[in-house]
Symmetry: C3
Subunit: 151 residues, 3 copies
């Protein structure tokens, strides 16, 4: 089954890559790797703003991480032309806008990690770092960047 | 001298890779590179929790960074099957759980950097970023991720 | 036009790479990629300290990001021997020392991104993540790390 059939079954529509707010691009291929920009979580087209441990629950954070991961998929499609050429999702960096005492960044990050497992099966199994940051662009509650391997 | 003889001389026992708390793996190889997940510092099997500049001293932070680096070595061994195939430790990202006014993340990170120098000599000399973060998973005081080159 | 002629036209003097405060190096090449260490912003040879949203304006942060990017260029020159061998600036990570309510990390990061566009034209167009962190080494207001592709 192709990645696109899988996305259809999961009822996921690939968004167009976001317009970078700055002098950069959503993704760059170098050798056999694709490096994607950090994608902030968006809701209804605007920043999904807020902070974990201060108004945003783990469940909402997971939904935001999943949304950012879907946006990243859209950029990966745009950067590569064909998601079926992805050999492996290699590495995720999941940044969680965190109150001082919020320590469940790993649970929030699962919202992104599980999306890649659903879409790519074994090829979606990646290395990952989850960290709690002071703030993110436009006040977003989550940001996801990734490295993928391409044929 | 093999890396394993060196580890023996340094009295370092390689731990089994930690069970990821999420849908990801400790390390992924892509082309000639191995990307490792962020490894939080652990003490007696649990998170080595706390914050630099608020209860955790630089000396304790360095010990935690060294402990996280040893855990990362265990994962690198598991991901590659043979640490003697490592051509270079390429890049470290050291995340330091930091109070607002703590500015010695680079000293804390040396606890990890020096471990790789001891174990791999010149092949252990890496690029590095050290940053101060708002929080880390399970409240850990330090997290270490790395990229290595493999033959 | 060579990169060095371009730097001359831009009146940019490449600095010598900073002395790492720790057991690491400014840059490491692995395969066709060069990984650079995080470079903190410096002013008059010392840390360009401060926090965005608490005394440092976006305009000053952009100048600091540009200064850190120029230092990174100096390290890239030292690590590769010839900036004309750079095929692409692949990925930037821009860390912004941020007050709790500062959400314009992307604008600050443009100070670094635009420098690479000026120096490398299309080859300078990169993927990027911008994040707000609790603190940086020596209290610097900005830190820039990057991955480049080399021939």
């Amino acid at each position: 089954m192709s990645v696109y059939e899988r996305l259809h079954d999961l009822r996921i529509d690939l968004p167009a890559p976001p317009h970078p707010v700055g002098a950069f691009v959503p993704g760059v291929q170098a050798g056999g790797l694709v490096f994607l920009s950090g994608h902030i979580a968006r809701k209804n087209g605007a920043s999904w703003s807020g902070r974990l441990g201060a108004g945003i629950s783990v469940t909402e954070g997971q939904a935001a991480a999943r949304a950012a991961a879907i946006d990243a998929l859209g950029s990966l499609h745009a950067a590569t032309g064909d998601l079926d050429r992805i050999k492996r999702i290699v590495k995720l960096l999941v940044l969680v806008n965190s109150a001082d005492d919020f320590t469940e960044q790993h649970l929030v990050a699962n919202g992104a990690s599980e999306l890649f497992g659903e879409v790519f099966d074994g090829r979606g199994l990646h290395a990952r770092s989850a960290i709690g940051v002071a703030q993110l662009p436009l006040g977003s509650c989550v940001e996801v960047e990734l490295v993928a391997e391409i044929e």
